[in-house]
Assembly symmetry: C2
Homo-oligomer: 366 residues x 2
């Protein structure tokens, strides 16, 4: 979709997430308050949407509704979701708005596996990219980093890791406004181990290619993710997902240590009371709702996945992220990056085959 005015149109899977419209619509209202240029295509059950929507006057003139009462269950398997909800579900139709050009980007809090399968099936892989990646925005000691893939694809060969580096650098340019973000390949300390060949090969290729628009700095380790030493961290999806969830778990664990320590004695309780503004600042900094949204990259159109348990504030963060990606022309930056790397083309594919979608077996999208 070519953007003709300043409006950013976001298609929203209103039935995704643990609470669906109850959290999603208030989230949109929060985000619209911050960004008046936003417009929404709400996809879901009109009878549910309309009464909730009526409570938010600031959404009145910027929303349209695409009705469907088919929802994808939060625990549906991807194959099941595709069989039962393809072309009919709120998830599918929200993604489809991007494909047909009625929205710039799509946001859903629906289940990750189903959302990824439908995105691949509906949008198709971008020319020059073999497999999709999910990019997480990772808060660091310095600022934020992009980490991908955090779970789209298990296992990755050198080609895929180089693809992720190209996609991730374009995203970091869009998100952080950097000319040449630094890129690191996640590795373990011991280099001389079987199984690390794809990482070494990808590293060698990134070094040799010296792509414009990125500054490949070499291997990094797990400790470098939180430090913010590097703008983009590239890894395969299994270890990326483990890293993301381990960090979440560690943050919770330290939070529980901290609570125990501060409630241990009357003195620590008093101290904690006095230091409350500091603890509040810390809590805000670590609030998972502040940074919410995984960005699905590598397809012909971008989908932002909000945490399924996100409340209105959390969903608004995902919507804000989607907006930033559109405003800063993520799609164009990716296309340019791929073209420069000889991996795709800025031109539209000259031989579109509209029948492909019909012919693609579901298993291919999984």
């Amino acid at each position: 979709m070519t953007r003709t005015d300043n409006t950013v149109t976001i298609s929203v899977d209103v039935m995704g997430g643990d609470n669906g419209a109850i959290d999603v619509i208030p989230g949109l209202a929060i985000s619209r308050q911050r960004h008046p240029e936003l417009a929404f295509v709400l996809v879901g059950d009109e009878t549910v949407i309309t009464p909730i929507l009526a409570k938010y006057p600031n959404l009145k003139d910027c929303t349209s509704i695409v009705h469907t009462d088919v929802a994808i269950a939060m625990d549906a398997k991807p194959s099941q979701a595709l069989r039962q909800g393809r072309r009919t579900s709120s998830m599918w139709k929200a993604i489809e708005q991007v494909k047909i050009g009625d929205a710039d980007i799509c946001v859903s809090a629906g289940n990750t596996g189903a959302l990824m399968a439908m995105s691949k099936f509906c949008l198709k892989m971008q020319k020059g990219i073999e497999r999709p990646g999910i990019a997480a925005i990772w808060p660091t000691a310095r600022n934020e980093s992009v980490v991908l893939d955090v779970g789209a694809t298990v296992g990755a060969d050198a080609d895929m890791l180089v693809d992720f580096a190209l996609l991730g650098s374009a995203m970091a340019r869009a998100l952080f406004g950097l000319e040449r973000p630094t890129i690191g390949l996640l590795n373990v300390g011991v280099e001389e181990v079987k199984g690390l060949e794809p990482i070494r090969e990808a590293g060698q290729r990134l070094k040799d290619a010296a792509y414009e628009g990125m500054d490949y700095i070499g291997f990094v380790e797990g400790t470098d993710i939180g430090s913010g030493n590097v703008d983009v961290i590239v890894t395969e999806g299994f270890s990326g997902n483990i890293a993301l969830k381990t960090a979440e778990g560690t943050a919770k664990q330290i939070g529980s240590y901290l609570r125990d320590a501060m409630t241990a004695t009357l003195r620590t309780k008093l101290g904690a009371l006095l230091a409350r503004p500091g603890f509040n600042a810390l809590r805000m900094k670590m609030d998972p709702r502040r940074v919410n949204g995984g960005v699905f990259l590598g397809m012909n159109g971008t989908v932002v996945k909000s945490h399924g348990g996100a409340d209105a504030l959390g969903f608004a963060a995902a919507v804000d992220l989607a907006r930033t990606m559109v405003i800063n022309e993520l799609g164009e930056k990716i296309a340019a990056q791929l073209a420069q790397a000889g991996r795709g083309s800025v031109e539209t594919d000259p031989t579109p085959s509209p029948s492909v979608e019909e012919d693609t077996p579901i298993s291919e999208a999984l």
Copy 2:
């Protein structure tokens, strides 16, 4: 080695670690102070060891020295270490003390890759176990868990994951005194993804086998590591290493957030001062020196790897861990667990082939 009295003899690679003997020997003194039953075989340069040893009277009657002035560099590649230091280095000779029965267990702060390669080459894989694992003791919100493999082997098939479950459960029994520790297989949320077959297969096998001495509870995610929901977490070495280092990085990151928050204003500074005992307790709880030591499992003898940068207190923690493993008969527990699983035998291998070591190419130990 059959233990004939209450003495626990630990062979120590005195030249391993960032500072070698300067941190190692004081560490032994601390550990001996706590545990009078400890005896040490110090392997390293006698001219360096003797003057330092003289400063610690409590080590006088419980140490012997095996002299060598060959040290493995902290940045040596495993193959290089094996070529240059096999049979001659302090690392090799410390491991060898376990093999020849002069020590119950070995501790080294030397480089992980070299130590693992030498351990495999010297001690050989245990009957019934294909690849070694490094087990980390992971502090959790509840207590501690065992996580393996954190970096010995990249990639793992179902067999290897089952092996790790057997080794890890024996270790948890030795370490935590549990009859049937709970075991979880680390996985990502989306099950229906290519590449997860080995994990699913291992899960099915653990479920079907219902081994004595362990309680297999199914898949767990990264968030479950820090929560302490499960006693043993099994994963392949790449993702295990990434998880471990990501947790370290996250802890540092939150520490830096906390410092910033507490020094932001006069009020938070005063509060933090008042709450200092709480912060001290937190610091102690999160002190990486308190829990130090990766346990190399799956070979004919156990090696404990201390952090290379450990100071005396950190090294003492690794020594204490080694002692616990011996006192609680880790070796016997592993042998029994493997025998019960039909994976090995409690008996000594009836057909020892002393020439194997000479014939094994170095590449096999990498």
